[in-house]
Amino acid sequence: MENADTIAAVATPPGRGGIGVVRVSGNGIKSLVLKVIGYVPEPRYASLSKFFDEDGQVIDQGIALFFPAPHSYTGEDVLELQGHGGPAVMNLLLSSCLSAGARMAQPGEFTLRAYLNNKLDLAQAESVADIIDASTGEAARCAMRSLQGEFSNAVHIVVQALIDLRISVEASLDFSEEEIDHAHHVDVSHRLRGVQAHLEHVLASARQGSILREGIWIVLIGQPNVGKSSLLNLLAGEEAAIVTEIPGTTRDTIRRTIEIEGVPLHLLDTAGLRETDDAVEKMGIARTRSTLEKANFVLLVMDSRWGITPADQAILDSLPAGLPAIYVYNKIDLLDERSLAEVGEGGSEIYVSAITGAGIETLRQRLLEMAGWQPRSMGEGVFMARQRHLQALTTAREYLENAAELDRGAFQPELLAEELRLAQQALSAITGEFRADDLLGEIFSRFCIGK
């Protein structure tokens, strides 16, 4: 099957690792290769290259591998860029490929193309369906998570404003004979600028809202003697230790931030959440509770010799329902052999020793996973989902700019309509499809059409 478009994705699992790979596949990708690394490397030879962004700035330096069709994983031209791992670099590299003409790959799409181009045998192909199925589900969940709160509202406002504008423009084309208030030039210009302004706002807030910048919020529960601090220092590792230490709203509550793989994790220490009669402290606790509302999950640290204490349980019970939790059993180095044998891996229970370092890697991966960076190769995480949404918004912005450009010239409503259609098509990656029939439905519900 001939695919006209070029796809790109980060091929290595997000998270730890010195090297990350961005992979691009398509028919005839040489112009993209030129834009991203400045030359076409010799096929199938590892070449040290600089990687450029769309403005020609160097993002990173690494290894570029070019596999011309058909001798590649997908059977199409494939470019692999191996750069320094870590989300920031991978993100910039991917963005560069996207602005050079690729689109973000659908879940499982590389494998699908490989299969469709006879690069996988029947036995391997059996698993393709499962990969697509599993990764699609994961992607859908991540997309949902990306589309929550502020971002969703802001996107909705843009889409609605765009639909309103399209209703006027399309009605003036298809129903020019009807007695309805047709879009006036001035009116269209004004409303188009409105849509553009909304879109800029969403783009700005979406960038701010990315996990990379903002991180996630974790409720930290644990009695003073269970080894929280040493655990957190170990987690943060050599990259960046404790970044901030802000006194909480009560004497004992503390917010601190650590970074893992560049992802900020904000920890709300709930040591101060206890029964009290002190009025000032009560107010402080109320405020702390409201910050808890935005927590993404709970991290409960215990001494593995004792397990959950009644004090821990009381705090757990007081948290908003449905908050996912990770149970960390520390100090397994102090367990006797018999108890140690019972220690298993699994689910939300993690056994660690801040002294020996045992289990720390597992905990680190679990935290990243909870933050949306899941290490499984098939999924793409909330971060990628957000990336996809940003791409849709950026594409829509281009079409709206075209529309504004047209609008400044002679009134050519059918061309304006075309740009607006394409802008909406781009946004449908976020909002789901909006078809001609949906548009007509809006027109008929708003205007009395028909002789």
């Binding site: 099957m1 059918e414 075309e418």
Partner: protein, 671 residues
Amino acid sequence: MRVDNRVLPLRRTPPYIAPRFTVECHLFSECDGSVVNCSENFDVIVIGGGHAGTEAALAAARMGKKTLLLSHNIETLGQMSCNPSIGGIGKGHLVKEVDALGGAMAAAADEAGIQFRILNSSKGPAVRATRVQADRMLYRQAIRRRLENQPNLWLFQQGVDDLTLEGECVTGVVTQLGIRFTARAVVLTAGTFLGGLAHVGSANFQAGRAGDPPSISLAARLREMKLPVGRLKTGTPPRIDGRSIDYSAVIEQPGDSPVPVFSFMGDAARHPRQLPCWMTHTNRHTHDIIRGGLDRSPLFTGVIEGTGPRYCPSIEDKVVRFSAKESHQIFLEPEGLGTHEVYPNGISTSLPFDMQVKLVQSIKGLENAHITRPGYAIEYDFFDPRALKSSLETKAIEGLFFAGQINGTTGYEEAAAQGLLAGINAARKTQDREAWCPRRDEAYLGVLVDDLVTRGVTEPYRMFTSRAEYRLQLREDNADLRLTGMGRELGVVDDVRWVSFEAKREAIVREQGRLKATWLNPNTSLNALPEADALRVLGKTIEHDYSLYELLRRPDVSYAALMTLPGAGECVADPVVAEQVEIQAKYHGYIERQKDEVARNAGYEDIRLPLDLDYTTVRGLSGEVQQKLNQFKPETAGQAARISGITPAAISLLLVHVKRGFSGQKKKKSA
């Protein structure tokens, strides 16, 4: 059983019909009306002589197939049963396409048109559309003459009671008299005749169109075949005697001048005498009358079950749904040159007759109006078009094609377009050739059929330009460039049209070549462009060499103005050619971008999905998706992708499944 061996007299209908039609039919009949064996075989039988049926029959016959057109009533062939106009925005596009494929509608409209307008003429060419007010009688005559003079086409007046089948293939039809005709392909264009029920107030009666009988037994038969059926509604206004209209109180709406033509082969000089239309408005009093009669409106008392179109509501619907609007426009359209009857477009109603009189007489200019025919609403059966292939052949019964209103569409133009396509594909069926299914980027015909077969209908389907995502390339002006070549290949375009088309196409290419090869430069060397001329035509001086073609692509530079530049050479004589060159230049960038979009989506269109594929065996598909796909059995992955609720991931899974099937087969063969 007594056997009666009478020979049924099958007469040639009027004397000028070309081929002779003498058939020996043996009637084994008593009064129970059992079957008559008729020895006459046809390639294609078309049931119904409306806009779909006539185009279907003409197309099959043009392709050299022996074709039989069966109609209740030969007098009503080509009848415009609703308003007397053809074309409009989106609809005109369809008519031009039918014309580009050799169809009759545009040419008949040219012969019958008494008012011609180009709608959206102030907007870009993609949304400009032709609309004709047609004389009903002249239109019918124009269609009838074409049918009667068409070689390979036979007409016969009989209602059809039944279809004959062999297994899951259609083999012919049985008429009301029990006459049996055989054919390899049957096109059913029964319009609103299937299970038709007309309403005027609380009175209702079984009907096809006003005055025609409904096809009840055929409807029952089709229901038996378990083809999925739905119910729709449409309506007409009361007609008015023009002598009772006060024309001094209404607004005149003249046609365009110069008078446009509809057909690519048309000639404005051959239009009949032109008439204006008139416009008036409803008022508060009218609306009060209507509100007062809602308790006797079958629409609002729940008697009518079918869904009516939202874009063509009855006047009672408009008054109720848009109650803030104090006035609605009404177009008074003349029914023809030889009659006083006027069609008041905009007051379609099923109110009781006494209310109709009151509401009409409340309108300015119509105070003394005499109603010649009451308005009515009609409910009718339609078949869920998702049971059709994109050739318009039913998926369930081989050789049986459905076209027109029976598929849930409304409008003469939509019907004609489907009829033409069904006729072509029925003929190709008898040739054992693959169906011709125009794509969405090739024709409104493709948009129409694809919408129907992938999305189904929830209200009568009408074409709008906003339905076509490739609107900028699907224009009235280039319908011939898009389709006449294909039509020639299919065998529906005759020599006269072909020669004229080729001349036009060549002239366009020649002029484009000339414009691309003619350069103007800013310096004082050869072919320099004087500054004054540059400012006059281009609005600014040129800073480097430009070809005329590049300059023509600028939005504010017209072909005519460009040709006034020194060095521009001689313009083409044919204004149609000049217009086409200009439009193509202006839209160039957009069309190229749309072509990219088409190419990106093209891959899936070529991937066929077997109609007997059981989607529950496709790994990974959700239950809901499996159910949807099993219900509608898309023909290609592209169609599947356009079914609502089918995700890209589901399509990926389908691709994997289909491919696995193919490699499995290959293995079997080699083993």
